[in-house]
Symmetry: C2
Subunit: 421 residues, 2 copies
């Protein structure tokens, strides 16, 4: 039984995204236009932009990445949407998912019927040390950063706690990376449109080209286990446990439920939504889960009147491989301490019982932080509509969930979408 | 006739603020706690913080000012409010007013009944050249900033256009500064709790102390007209035409209309709200007004079913003196081209027909940018409740308006509040 408190329902009638990757020749405005064109191309009824009444932007910190704040009205103007209301929301890497939720609340209030949501980040203009520093501002810079932490360190601490508490096999992390790259290899918007095996073979070929001995890796797992193939970043997080630094934009068009069919023959409906916050890592009772994610998930399930087993697919926030495993437990797909086994047993693969990150996830699709939460909605919209091409789930999935985390878990937002026939 | 589309009404049941000023020994978290304590002190029924369901933060760029992003959940945790939803909204200097509006929409949607809104900025830790650069990121940094503009320059261009188009007297700008300092002198939260005359006398006394000849200024206007008293910044904007660089925090507690009396014996009601955006300055048809402000104002009047003459007092965004004069026209208090005369004739003074910035405005109260829009609501809440002390308007004002601008007018949000007996 749905227990929505919203005064009216909200639907997603279109979605699109730029390619995610590293684009030194493109500005963030270029990427935003690319996403808007993709959204328009994907719509089965032509969109009249004059119908858009408000714009919400999820962006972490163009302030730091591009020395450009106040980005929402600038992008609205760039798309020719002025003078509509334009608002940026920021909750670190959860900014995109939060923008979806705030736009939905604005529609539910009655104020707007048609709202465009965008997510955007242009990260690769900075040097990698500067990117690390900018991302670090998503943590508590009075207490956590002076203690020596950067984000790989936070998730390494969580991964260590997880391995210790549950006697988990570290190879489970590698299995997450292998699966997500397999999915990303089928996504032409992904930063890494390659399996780990393909990356390994490329590396072998380059070694031979350069006259060095050919590495002896036989399998993707062997490659990941070898520090020469996959160097350590912050133990137990290796290079391939980390999502990349990315540029990209993603978009979704939200309308009030009663108008959905005017904009699309195949809308999907936002039937559950939840958001929670938390203090910094040292303030929490546990390191092996993200309490804000569990709370946001419960809110969303309760609003939708659903249980974890009702979810046909989920896009979760795999900024690091361990984060996907924790998410699969925080969201109730598997019992506490069992997520790592489920990953190793293939239960989160496209043909598993709980498909996770069919898009390739942040890991393979890329992680332009403010865009990631909106990019998740693009994948759910495609999968529920049978538009996901080679990576399409069989059996016509009906219910999809997005899980978007900010920082080391100070923010989490969960949204649940439904296809209705 | 009110034409609200919101599914339910929203009330402000409490408000408070830190002192605004330059506080090298305080962090933004200290200022936020100070504002929260003030809000609690001001409430006539004790607030149980456990009733707060969500938190919205207006903040321009702690990213740049303090190297701290993701500030909303950090502040929520600092006040002991975790795990409630915590969202930062950013629209440059309009961030505070936009946070009020987004929180209200979240209540109107039905999702939350009780929402805390905070505004915050800690600007004085940087050198003044760094502050200027950080504020510049609120403009279009691809087109405007490379052309040589900083914010005093934007408003100088608008002031020049205004003087030219309407044959206005530049002394009108000084009259705005004189009036706002007279109001600020009666506000113990103001950065400048001093009239221009007091500042002038202090300057004279310091000259004598240092053995220099005593300046011959007889009146505040003479002082402002003398570049030795009031140096040029960007003609025709002088030092005393500019709001200061400030630290500060402000807060308001919003609840659904039906719960208002449970939280306060004297709630005020948000009866009108509007928000609009615009492109950069060179994209606009006019420089002598702010089109987004006119549009946001019209939306708010229409929702409230009111006209400009129904407004008993207004807190407007006087980041520069000319901005207050343009606002008084954009909001319809005076016809186009007449705002400067009204200022010179005292029509915007506390005893005038359209009192503006009884708090001292951004000019005298201070302008911690993300806090300013929420600080405006604090003043309206006090004035409508007869709690404004020596600066209290007589005749029990019933309707107050806030007008909060981002950048050179890329964002404007207008909110209208009503006291009901």
């Amino acid at each position: 039984m749905s227990k929505s408190k919203w005064s009216r329902g909200v639907a997603v009638v279109g979605a699109g995204m730029s390619r995610f990757g590293a684009f030194p020749d493109k500005t963030s405005r270029d990427l935003f236009v690319e996403a808007f064109k993709d959204l328009n191309k994907n719509m089965d009824k032509a969109l009249d932009p004059k119908k858009i009444e408000a714009f919400y932007l999820g962006n972490f910190s163009s302030d730091q990445f591009e020395k450009q704040a106040h980005l929402a009205p600038i992008l609205a103007s760039w798309l020719g949407l002025s003078p509509i209301s334009a608002v940026r929301v920021e909750d670190a890497c959860a900014s995109g998912g939060v923008a979806i939720r705030q736009a939905a609340l604005a529609i539910a209030s009655g104020e707007y019927d048609v709202v465009l949501v965008g997510g955007l980040e242009k990260m690769t203009d900075l040097r990698i040390s500067e990117v690390t520093e900018a991302l670090g501002t998503a943590a508590d810079t009075q207490f956590e950063i002076p203690a020596g932490f950067t984000f790989p360190g936070f998730y390494a601490a969580m991964a260590t706690a997880y391995l210790h508490e549950y006697g988990a096999d570290r190879n489970a992390f590698f299995d997450v990376a292998i699966k997500n790259h397999k999915n990303g290899a089928l996504n032409d918007k992904a930063q890494f449109e390659q399996t780990i095996e393909q990356i390994m073979e490329d590396k072998k070929a380059r070694a031979v080209q350069k006259g060095r001995p050919e590495p002896t890796w036989k399998t993707d797992l062997e490659f990941l286990q070898d520090p020469k193939g996959n160097p350590n970043v912050a133990w137990p997080m290796t290079l391939f446990d980390c999502s990349p630094v990315s540029d990209g934009a993603a978009m979704a068009l939200l309308v009030s439920e009663d108008l959905a069919k005017q904009f699309s023959h195949h809308p999907i409906y936002l039937i559950g939504s939840g958001q929670a916050s938390d203090g910094a890592l040292p303030e929490r009772a546990t390191l092996s889960s993200i309490p804000a994610a569990e709370k946001a998930g419960k809110q969303a399930y309760e609003m939708a009147g659903l249980t974890p087993d009702d979810i046909d697919l989920a896009e979760v926030h795999d900024c690091f491989t361990v984060a996907e495993i924790m998410a699969s437990e925080d969201l109730g797909f598997f019992p506490r301490g069992e997520g790592w086994k489920a990953a190793m047993e293939g239960k989160t693969a496209r043909d598993g019982e709980h498909p996770i990150n069919t898009s390739g996830g942040l890991k393979a699709k890329g992680h332009p932080v403010g865009a990631s939460g909106v990019g998740q909605v693009v994948e759910i919209w495609k999968q529920l509509n049978g538009l996901a091409g080679e990576r399409q789930l069989p059996n016509a999935p009906k219910i999809g969930l997005t899980h978007n985390v900010g920082g080391s878990g100070q923010t989490c937002v969960v949204n649940i979408f439904e296809r209705r026939d």
